[in-house]
Symmetry: C2
Subunit: 234 residues, 2 copies
């Protein structure tokens, strides 16, 4: 099969799924028809259907599982951050997207988010998500991997108060893209306990600025926080 024929074959499935999502004919949690049914519906090979499904999986639009259990089949999910993050990570690895540009873009995104978070109409319940993560990181016995996970969730929860899902998605993607460099950067800052102490102090000040609705201060603090962390990495 020539490239163009194959492209047309699976593109028809992708376009159909996109249109069905847009119209609401298929929604989050729905199951796509099976491989054989799709192949018949579009008059294409099952290999082309698998090609299309794999594309949707990589885009974070569906999750596939083989077998016959209740969770088997191809289910519509919403996982844009890990999809975009995985792709970004590859391009950082190939040196096409410089690490320093990712860090700069992350600072742009996160300062914007915290400035808007400080002015947004969040509820107490929403800011308490970030507070719980902040307080969990105060535990000095936490292994560094757990701390890093909570750290990541803390940044996401605080930025989410701005109420822009696309900005949050971009932030998470960039964090995912440079995840491997995070532990390298941390290791260069000295002993883990020293690093964790600085991070805790930063996080508390950033949180308090958002809670006090001081957007300019929150933006400045988070910029300094990211700069400090990656200072020697980029």
């Amino acid at each position: 099969m020539s490239e163009s024929t194959a492209t047309r074959a699976y593109d028809a499935v992708l376009r159909h799924v996109e249109e069905s999502l847009r119209s609401g004919a298929i929604k989050l949690g729905d199951r796509l028809p099976g491989e054989r049914a799709l192949a018949e519906q579009f008059g294409i090979s099952r290999a082309s259907v698998r090609h299309a499904i794999r594309s949707l999986e990589v885009m974070g639009v569906v999750r596939s599982a083989t077998g016959s259990g209740p969770n088997s089949g191809t289910i519509v999910v919403s996982n844009p951050s890990s999809a975009l993050g995985g792709a970004l990570r590859m391009h950082v690895a190939s040196h096409q997207l410089p690490l320093k540009d990712v860090v700069e873009a992350r600072i742009m995104t996160e300062t914007w988010a915290l400035e808007h978070a400080a002015a947004a109409p969040w509820t107490l319940e929403q800011i308490d998500d970030a507070r719980r993560l902040l307080e969990a990181m105060d535990d000095e016995g936490l292994p560094s991997e757990i701390f890093t996970l909570l750290d990541s969730q803390f940044h996401v929860a605080l930025s989410a108060l701005a109420g822009n899902v696309v900005v949050s998605t971009m932030m998470e993607s960039m964090r995912e893209a440079i995840r491997d460099y995070i532990s390298d950067a941390a290791a260069r800052q000295g002993s883990w306990e020293e690093v964790a102490q600085v991070l805790r102090a930063h996080h508390h000040r950033i949180f308090e600025a958002v809670e006090a609705r001081d957007g300019a201060l929150a933006a400045r603090l988070v910029r300094e926080h990211i700069d400090w962390f990656y200072g020697r990495a980029v």
Copy 2:
């Protein structure tokens, strides 16, 4: 084959490619080993290798073409914008990423880019790329599809002066994600010639602000420009 076995099988190929890109063992323009060779190297099925290659394609990291010509095989490319844009578009279609959040994120990104472009050390040659696109759009006989293409390239060329590849990639991705809504939005603004006249006037003022190194003005104008355009769409 259970899901976890399949996942492990192709993940090994993805991790290997990522590591090889990072170390420089494979670079842009290089050809990956054939399907059979990769299957043998990793001790996995050719179906799993295809799965991995397809993932890399969707991420914009490789381009695959069947056949035996000089352009056949799996070649390392760098196409992050269309990869991220394609994924974003799917999530906009599934209503998981609201259109208004994409527009707001685009304004954040583009105001940042033009503010930085106005202060960046670009060469005359670089700004002339944007100027040529600006002047090409002055031709009143252009079909709307050509105008829209030049318009897109103009925004990218101007923002690229800021020198941050990740920010440019994000901008292009978001434009790609809402591409279908652009013509809808344009159609709602009245006759195409009226719309084009307004866009031309905006573009000239934005370009002049960047050229005059007035970052604050360029940022304000581009925000008004995007707001005007999507005003009735979101």
